[in-house]
């Protein structure tokens, strides 16, 4: 398989080892950005669509740079243009309709869309977002995109025979969008499928959908899959057959209780491991994060370990989100230096060192 990781190593990377650091995608929106959205949605306000576009550009520029300031190797714009991970896409796909908010838990709601007609590709989803971010960023840019299974599961299906058929129809649209992203220069695409954790028995449907998505994607494009908050033993090792190279998994939140799942069967692809918890408002220390990273080295060798937060950090206070990323990068660099110096001898899959 083509090595798609090396292209993301920064030219001035200080260590021989490279534990690529990245983020899952979302980031807290600056308060002024939320205020701008309120004004834009307020019919009595003079804040018009041009003002709103300018606000989104400013926020995207700011947060892209905030990721770079924290030292993250592969960045996003923090999804400043997106309101929610299903709604955003449903608004851009023909065949979707919105009826109002539904409960997720407590007083947390989302505007769950309904599929009321056959889904069709209409306007671009993420190409403009990518082009803007790529233009602003000095670092390489990752594009997170909600996967078709989650888009289907978290919608009302009024049209298709079942969720599986809707998933495949949406997969064809995701494929079209990814083609356009690749055409625009994207080289790192992460497909988010949190719904797989809800219904792990459907892993074969997700697999078939991914086959459709990756059709015609060039070999040098890095494809990842993000799954979170589930019982991984119900989907692993089956998911290793998916046509992606990297699996980004939440593990810090559960204090690595599920780590053994990935050791029982050899992890044959790249492992992007969550090393900071996005549901605690305390910034983990560099030392603590280093310990977490070393747990990842029990699963895969350094050249296949990616370091990232558990999930999108958007629900955290902004300074906490920044602090977590900054410490995450420091920790990765220190572990790399220790690896270079031969101070860490725990190497996954190497029987000679497995006895310590």
């Amino acid at each position: 398989m083509t090595d798609t990781r090396e292209q993301f190593r920064p030219e001035d990377h200080p260590n021989d080892h490279f534990l690529m650091t990245t983020v899952v995608g979302s980031y807290p929106k600056p308060k002024w950005h939320n205020r701008a959205r309120e004004l834009f949605e307020d019919e009595d306000s003079e804040f018009d669509v041009d003002n709103w576009e300018e606000a989104k550009d400013d926020a995207a520029r700011l947060i892209t740079k905030e990721h770079e300031r924290a030292g993250v190797d592969v960045v996003t714009d923090g999804e400043m243009r997106r309101n929610e991970m299903v709604e955003y896409f449903a608004h851009r796909i023909d065949g979707y309709d919105f009826n109002g908010r539904v409960k997720v838990w407590g007083h947390n709601y989302f505007d769950k869309p309904s599929v009321v007609d056959e889904v069709e590709y209409d306007e671009q989803w993420l190409v403009e977002e990518f082009e803007f971010t790529d233009d602003v960023a000095d670092a390489p840019v990752k594009v997170p995109i909600t996967g078709p299974y989650t888009l289907a599961s978290w919608s009302f299906n009024e049209v298709y025979d079942d969720e599986e058929q809707l998933t495949y129809a949406l997969a064809d649209l995701v494929n079209e969008e990814i083609d356009a992203l690749v055409e625009a220069g994207a080289r790192y695409i992460q497909i988010d499928e949190p719904a797989l954790a809800t219904t792990p028995d459907d892993h074969a449907i997700v697999g078939e959908a991914l086959e459709r998505i990756v059709d015609d994607v060039p070999e040098d494009v890095r494809l990842g899959l993000h799954v979170c908050y589930g019982d991984y033993s119900r989907i692993y090792p089956e998911i290793l057959d998916y046509p992606v190279e990297e699996y980004d998994l939440e593990l810090a939140n559960g204090d690595y209780e599920q780590l053994d799942v990935f050791k029982d069967d050899e992890f044959t692809e790249d492992f992007a491991m969550g090393v900071v918890d996005v549901h605690t408002a305390e910034i983990e220390s560099v030392e603590e994060i280093k310990d977490n990273i070393k747990k990842g080295l029990e699963v895969v060798p350094p050249e296949r370990l990616t370091v990232s937060p558990d999930c999108g950090v958007k629900l955290l206070p902004r300074e906490i989100a920044y602090g977590k990323m900054e410490n995450m990068v420091k920790a990765a660099r220190e572990v790399e230096a220790e690896l270079d110096a031969g101070e860490i001898d725990v190497v996954a899959g190497d029987a000679a060192t497995a006895d310590d």
């Binding site: 009826n99 109002g100 409960k103 997720v104 838990w105 407590g106 007083h107 009302f156 299906n157």
Partner: protein
């Protein structure tokens, strides 16, 4: 002559204004959810929302009117999460849905405790002259949703949950119907021995009620043995989910029989596609034609709680159910 009674399983979506007002008043975190001792503006908002959903059911012309269970932040786990002997743990997934509730951790005796649900029904009773329907989780489902750290024995815990629900029912005002929602009978089907105990627990709750008792099952068909045991309970009707699995459900009824009354879930509580009254009526008649029973009462309902729906579609489904019951018989 079979009477068709249009009803719903309750657990309604909050009106949109109440979603906003209550999230402002209560907050968004798990510690902000209902504990059972709310007052002031929060209680007033719930009172207003309750009146609104009751009036909406009456306008639709439903034969049974529910309180709406708008306070049930933890869905079917609610009667326990407000109990004094219960601590609320983390947020856990609510069945195979993208919904979450607090984990009710039972740490002490589940004695009769304040009648939280009875108080809701008292408030509803002031607005409903006839046809008031109480809604509770069935004992097997409520025990399944909870974590027991006190009784230490599954059978004793199930009995305690049944006794607790029975004490709630004792405190109820006069109601026409008591609906016990038992999705766990399908989703986490009881095995050998437990199936019989589940039936006895349901019987214990039902015996506390001076009303028609319907036990609604959903998210698929019951396993055959679970169904057979359920029929041993002294209840008036079983609710069957004809939306999720009509074939196995029909088989169960024709193979093992059912009660003299029946509740048919013929409206999808988790899809915005609104069934027409004629479609609903056809589904009801399909069941009555495919079974040999001569039912006294056929309840027509939605298969699941209705909070999964946005308000406009939820209301459209109330109208469709009520209209379906009033339609002249349609013959294929």
């Amino acid at each position: 002559m079979t009477e068709i009674v249009a009803t719903t399983p309750g657990l309604y979506p909050l009106p949109d204004w109440a979603k906003d007002d209550l999230s402002d008043l209560k907050g968004h975190q798990k510690g902000d959810l209902i504990s059972g001792d709310e007052g002031g503006e929060i209680a007033a908002a719930y009172d207003e929302a309750r009146a609104e959903v009751i009036e909406r059911q009456q306008d639709a012309g439903l034969d049974r009117v529910v309180e709406g269970q708008l306070r049930w932040d933890d869905m079917l786990a609610h009667p326990l999460t407000v109990h004094d002997s219960v601590e609320t743990g983390g947020i856990v997934r609510y069945y195979d849905n993208n919904n979450f509730c607090r984990d009710p951790v039972v740490e002490g005796d589940l004695s009769a405790d304040g009648g939280d649900v009875a108080a809701e029904l008292d408030a509803a009773a002031e607005l409903v002259e006839e046809g008031l329907q109480a809604v509770l989780p069935g004992p097997y489902t409520l025990a399944d949703l909870a974590t027991d750290e006190h009784y230490g024995d599954d059978a004793a815990f199930l009995d305690a949950v049944a006794d607790f629900l029975g004490s709630e029912v004792d405190a109820f005002p006069d109601v026409e119907t008591l609906l016990l929602l038992e999705p766990s009978l399908v989703e986490n089907a009881p095995g050998d021995g437990v199936d019989e105990r589940a039936s006895e627990a349901i019987d214990a709750v039902a015996s506390a009620a001076d009303a028609e008792v319907v036990v609604q099952t959903y998210w698929g068909a019951l396993e055959e043995k679970v169904h057979a045991h359920l029929l041993d309970a002294d209840i008036d009707a079983v609710g069957y989910d004809f939306v999720s699995d009509h074939e196995q459900t029909l088989y169960n009824i024709n193979e093992y029989g059912t009660k003299d009354d029946i509740s048919l879930s013929v409206v999808d509580g988790q899809n915005t596609l609104v069934e027409t009254p004629a479609e609903i009526r056809e589904r009801i008649e399909w069941v009555t034609e495919e079974t040999t029973n001569d039912f006294d009462t056929v309840y027509a309902s939605a298969n699941t709680e209705l909070f999964y729906l946005p308000v406009n579609k939820f209301e459209a489904k109330l109208d469709a159910l009520a209209d379906a019951a009033d339609l002249e018989e349609v013959h294929a």
